[in-house]
Symmetry: C2
Subunit: 144 residues, 2 copies
């Protein structure tokens, strides 16, 4: 039968950026928001300019990805081999909710290091993560 999760189940939610003198406030996630399915862990990943980190798939974790600094190109692939690309960051300030069973990779698409926050519904555990080498899933990561 195979797993039925598809790239269409990825949710993109626009987030508020509130202008404040001396430094803005950026919403990330509320427990009453769409896509919230419990809090397990929050952690940051930096991604340097032009660097690709790929590929990873979580078997149990739902990810909520937010990029408060810079810009990141995310590429998702479901078990049907369909791709979806989302470029998010300061200037397209949205949250991406990724269900389990989706392969993903990401690339720093900014002149400096970008920052990704993941608000996950479970704590990170290597036991629920599958990894593939970047070349095991063919994708054109070169900048358009």
């Amino acid at each position: 039968m195979g797993n039925k999760v598809t790239i269409n189940e990825i949710i993109s939610t626009p987030l508020k950026r509130i202008s404040v003198l001396g430094g803005d406030v950026f919403h990330a996630m509320k427990k009453t928001d769409d896509g919230f399915s419990g809090f397990g862990e929050a952690y940051f990943s930096q991604v340097d300019s032009g660097v690709v980190k790929a590929w990873k798939k979580h078997l149990k974790m739902t990810l909520n990805l937010i990029v408060p600094t810079g810009r990141v190109r995310f590429v998702f692939m479901d078990n049907d081999g369909l791709f979806r690309e989302e470029v998010i960051g300061e200037n397209n300030y949205v949250r991406l909710t990724i269900p389990p069973e989706i392969w993903f990779g990401f690339k720093g698409d900014f002149e400096n290091t970008s920052l990704v926050l993941n608000i996950a519904n479970i704590e990170h555990s290597p036991e629920e993560v599958e990894l593939k080498d970047i070349n095991e899933i063919k994708y054109n990561w070169s900048t358009y």
Copy 2:
């Protein structure tokens, strides 16, 4: 009688920074961590270099403050008028857990804009926030 929360109840928890080629991973909070008292909302505040944002007191919210980018000087004051200062950021990567009823302010202590993540146990609501003008609580914010 007055409220009995003191600055000694602020918890400072060292966090892991994991070295990864192309961009490090920074822990922020796990649900099993000290200081976790439920998830209500996560949001970012930027603070520009040299800017002071002060003063604010939450009546109900417990804050968990993390600075993944830059460096921020936090100043806390309890209802006894006692101050506590903590400088945190990339190079002193700790989480500060602040109980309700503590006055606080913060200053961007980095050459560029710094970023603060607050993982709060309740959703932000103006009804549980008290504000004071920066001059209403005397503190020497000048850089040492």
